[in-house]
Symmetry: C2
Subunit: 242 residues, 2 copies
């Protein structure tokens, strides 16, 4: 009788063994959420769906995550950890290259995870988790090593991040809209130009990306603005170059 156990004893012990799922945890939830977002975008993120992907019920996630909002914050901080910020030991000469690399890395991250674009407007960039603060610290060191006073370094960082985020978020939104509509880039460009012509006829806006590779054009645009901003910052480092 002691060998006779309750009637439905091991319903999900069986399931857990069957699929070999190592139980839930905040880390597992967050990384699976990142995968889901990368594959299907922000609209596809629902607690039920995410739970299903983890072989768990919808409400089980709430044992490890307070809100959907908190989950999103965690997820954003997670991908923010992918941004590479070079060390500050290169000396003042390497400053510009290091900052540019950092900017490109941030841009790549946003383009790799386009859904962050739809969150950055709601979350702000300050309240986020350890990864973001750590990266900010490293950037601060970068600018201070270049010769910026701490106060000005903070302003410079904010300006740089604002530019990169603003530019790339716009780009990511354009790309995701393009992907959703199923059109090719050429068609979309043609359509936009036609719409602009209709709205304000006679003005030759958007004459760029006619025949070239649109991807290169976007990159060139990004680099142009970045270079201008860095030019403007560099003048603050004193007139004496290297």
């Amino acid at each position: 009788m002691s060998a006779e156990k309750p009637p439905i004893p091991s319903v999900w012990a069986r399931r857990r063994q069957r699929r070999d799922q190592p139980a839930l945890s905040q880390d597992r939830i967050v990384s699976e959420a990142v995968r889901l977002l990368d594959e299907e975008g922000m609209d596809a993120l629902s607690m039920r769906g995410l739970g299903a992907r983890l072989g768990a019920g919808a409400t089980s996630l709430y044992r490890h995550v307070a809100n959907k909002d908190e989950l999103i914050e965690l997820v954003v901080d997670e991908v923010y950890g992918e941004v590479r910020v070079p060390d500050a030991d290169g000396g003042p000469d390497a400053w510009r290259a290091a900052v540019a690399e950092c900017a490109h890395s941030l841009r790549s991250m946003i383009l790799r995870h386009p859904w962050v674009a739809s969150v950055l407007g709601q979350v702000g960039l300050i309240e986020l988790g350890p990864n973001l603060t750590r990266q900010s610290e490293r950037m601060l060191a970068l600018f201070q090593a270049a010769g910026f006073a701490p106060d000005e370094a903070d302003q410079a960082i904010s300006a740089l991040i604002a530019y990169v985020v603003g530019m790339t978020v716009n780009e990511a939104a354009y790309l995701s809209m393009l992907a959703r509509s199923g059109r090719t880039e050429q068609e979309m460009a043609e359509e936009l130009r036609a719409a602009a012509q209709q709205a304000a006829p006679g003005h030759p806006l958007l004459e760029a990306w006619r025949n070239d590779d649109p991807r290169q054009i976007r990159e060139r645009k990004f680099v142009y603005g970045l270079d201008r901003l860095l030019d403007g910052l560099q003048t603050r480092l004193g007139p004496a170059g290297t």
Copy 2:
């Protein structure tokens, strides 16, 4: 019997007269949506709620607006019409002041309607309506009058808008988070600094806005980055000043 009309003949003819509501229209819907968003924020925008504010049923709005998404696009374009872009007739000298005024105007608009921050990441800045294309046209004229070649003017505009939007969206998100949490600015700054200390101890990030007026500090930060970007752009106009 022919005089005997159906039992509930004039239910909403009465209602319409009672409240004197001039029937639904896309314009009325859009401007009421703007008002609702300004008062209660993005989360409070639901078709049912908006319909109620207009004295109409929820689904009546769909006769004038295809989607909630389309409604949002219309609303964003509406407030974009508030941005002031100066005329381009000031000559090359007035260029910098005109562009700066335009940037400040864009920033004011976003801070006046903080909810646009949560949309800019999803909508992109290109596909939008007549107001946005018109403003873009005017900015293009501004830069061309300053001496930029058409191709470069396009890149410069993108950079400027990216900076302003990125900076201000972050600011607006911070402010709305602050408003939601009910804390005062000093408390929030203290809390953030404490959190940063805990995450990465020993690093003196966020030393700014200690005793000064936070609002002035944010404005100063915005102006700093804007000046740097304009500095960088101005060098492209040829070494000969004025």
